[in-house]
Symmetry: C2
Subunit: 230 residues, 2 copies
């Protein structure tokens, strides 16, 4: 397949995805739901971040949260979320390397969100493809694992560029892995000057409170926007 044909096929796939994402967005607006798309490479700590975040929210807020998990195989991540008493739906993609808007729409047909006002979507672990597929979300959060190196924002810029917040996770490992945090932050900033950047460790808890505080405010701001539109 030549590059031109590939681009045509990709363009059609993305155009169809955009239609489905617009329908999801309209549904979220109608239901008063704020949807957040969490993206990262495999093992950067998305599920650990969701756990750390959910544990810091009060019970009333947690009761109105729904989580969609995306993985090629297993229900491990949904089980981890359910263990916290939060409803979760697992999308098993098989060989597909990202979530798309139709998968989310299909999940929502089986996983009613009527009583939810916040939908957290954990994408498939992949630093490239998920960033190309709009799910209809209002917020995009990227989790990055510090031991993966300081130069990755330059080599894989799209996901960093699209995120409203970039979370530099596993900073507890920074002293042992030879990655200069300042260089990493500078590279994120070069690719995305407006993203909110948090350095944290989901394992030790360092920096998590500051992230959760920002996240609650960002969700509240989106919710105010949603209400204004209803």
């Amino acid at each position: 397949m030549c590059i031109t044909k590939r681009v045509n096929v990709e363009t059609k796939v993305l155009s169809k995805n955009d239609e489905a994402a617009a329908a999801n967005r309209a549904l979220f607006l109608e239901r008063g739901v704020v949807a957040v798309n969490f993206m990262s490479a495999p093992g950067a700590g998305k599920t650990s971040l969701l756990e750390a975040t959910l544990r810091r929210l009060d019970r009333a807020a947690a009761a109105r949260i729904a989580v969609i998990e995306g993985d090629l195989e297993t229900e491990y991540d949904a089980d981890r979320i359910r263990a916290l008493g939060v409803r979760a739906h697992q999308i098993v993609t098989g060989t597909v390397c990202h979530l798309d808007a139709r998968m989310v729409a299909h999940a929502l047909s089986h996983f009613p969100i009527e009583t939810a006002n916040l939908l957290l979507i954990e994408n498939v672990g992949n630093m490239v493809c998920p960033a190309e597929f709009d799910l209809g979300e209002q917020l995009r959060v990227m989790v990055y694992s510090v031991p993966e190196g300081a130069e990755k924002p330059k080599k894989y810029p799209l996901m960093f560029h699209q995120a409203h917040a970039v979370l530099l996770n596993k900073i507890d490992l920074a002293p042992y892995c030879g990655v200069a945090l300042d260089d990493l932050v500078g590279n994120v900033r070069d690719v995305n000057p407006s993203a909110k950047i948090f350095a944290l460790s989901c394992r030790t808890g360092e920096g998590v409170a500051a992230w959760v505080e920002w996240f609650e405010q960002a969700v509240a701001a989106q919710r105010a926007g949603v209400r204004a539109c209803v």
Copy 2:
């Protein structure tokens, strides 16, 4: 795009790729070149592994090595290889999340390998898609970063399944990241009972000699096979 259409498009893309991979394989055979495809998630340490491996080879062997690097953006990795006196060609894929056989064929038209007998191909950092695209290589090596967690072989099985060798890199971080190496090895073994598994650290050098010894033998065995076919 419905799932059936997506599958049809993917099947066509992969079928075209298989044709190009077969042509690459024939070219490698004709030239007496052993080609090795190095795959991993971003930041697992493929380039560091290539550096550590190249440093341990004698000058005569290194002179007959060529390296192809794949990244979405930048020539950083090719520059790191060239700094060791080894010829390297960078494929910049733009938005494409993997190398395919046509990209490698195209690179070979600009990057003559007549005097090489070993071609090391560093794929784009992605734990999913590269495993779906045969490049015509004789050996597949997967690098995995221990801090990414013990359960990933179960969640992203294809690349682990296809590798002749799985290298568990960054074991120097194991004491600090709460990942049980035995569980990780067990999960790799469940997905791929026949893969050679090495635990190592490209940063400290621990375990690298054992990997290089195996790699030299595996390449020699492939070369004997190549010679037998010429």
